[in-house]
Each structure stands twice: as C-alpha cells, then as structure tokens.
Symmetry: C2
Subunit: 101 residues, 2 copies
C-alpha cells in the first residue's frame, strides 16, 4: 500500500484455516471487493501459506467499527467461525511511524 | 502469538523479494533467532507467497529501536536492500485493542 497521510489505523488479521474451505475463496474475494468500497478504507495486503496474515488500513477507528458491523461482513464472520477457521486473531493498531525501501 | 498485557507494539514488515535469494533463508532464520533474544520481544508471525508479511510484537518503542540498531540486524538490513528485496515497508504501530476466536 502506498503511504497515506498519518495518522491512520491497521487491522492485523491472522488466521488458521480449517480443513473445510468450501466457499471460502468466493467469500474472501467478495469481502475484499466490499471492504474496498467502505468509507475510510485505505488499502489491504494479504498472504497465506501455513497461516494467513491480512493487514487492512483504515482512516479511523470508526471506519473499522463500521466495517466490522457491516451486515454482509457479519455473515462472513459467522461463517468463518462456524466453518472456515480453526482460529483467528484481530489486532487493531494505530500506525505511529513508517518507512520504506 | 498469545495475547500479552497491553499496551504493546507491532512492527508490520511487508516485502517483495528480488530474484536473488542467495543466503536469504539462512539470514532470515538467524534474524528470527536473534530477535527472540532481544529485550521486549513478544512474538512474531510470518508468511510469504507473492509478497511477505512479517509482524513482530514488542513491549515498547524503545525495544523496537534497539532491535533496529542491533549491529547484526543492521548488516542484515543492508544486505536486504542490496540483494534480497525489490522493496520493503515497515510500519510501527501501537496495538490498541484485540480479540480472537
């Protein structure tokens, strides 16, 4: 993600998939498209191999809260807990400084 | 990573490897071992496929600064910029809240 003006927030989502991945890829793609349409969405980076790490970036804590409560996202979260994930962890963080090469 | 007492800090390191990965795996392993020995180190999660995302967790901003300035780590960073990475980005964040499933 290119650097937005600070301050902004990062949501670090780490997860371990269960053996049942039926429907997961479609839902993940749908949620990515939907997230990008939300007010305050700044960017997203995602990688999965043994575990998955997705970091999304947001303009405010309120934007994160709105996205967490978005009706379609709530359904995806429920499905995730019921079917797709053995575990997941969410950390909401304020980006304090950054640099790049 | 299991949840430490808050507040604490996360360093989000995203990177794109270059085509030359000679010596990279050994150095990455060495740096992981060394990071774990540092004061204030709390944990680390790392995944790589198309890009890499490594998130390390620290007790304080000072612990992060000390690790950034560690002599062996400085050499690894120089080597990384010279050889192993097309680009990388580092974001230093304060973990404000978290939850898990």
């Amino acid at each position: 993600m290119t650097t937005p003006r600070q301050p902004y927030y990062a949501v670090i989502f780490t997860s371990k998939q269960s053996k049942n991945t039926t429907g997961y890829a479609n839902m993940a793609k749908k949620m990515e498209i939907l997230a990008k349409q939300q007010d305050g969405f700044l960017g997203m980076e995602s990688v999965r191999s043994n575990i998955g790490i997705t970091v999304s970036y947001w303009a405010s804590l309120n934007a994160i809260k709105q996205w967490k409560q978005h009706s379609e996202h709530v359904l995806a979260q429920q499905r995730g807990r019921a079917v797709w994930y053995d575990w997941y962890r969410v950390k909401i963080c304020k980006v304090e400084r950054e640099y790049e090469f």
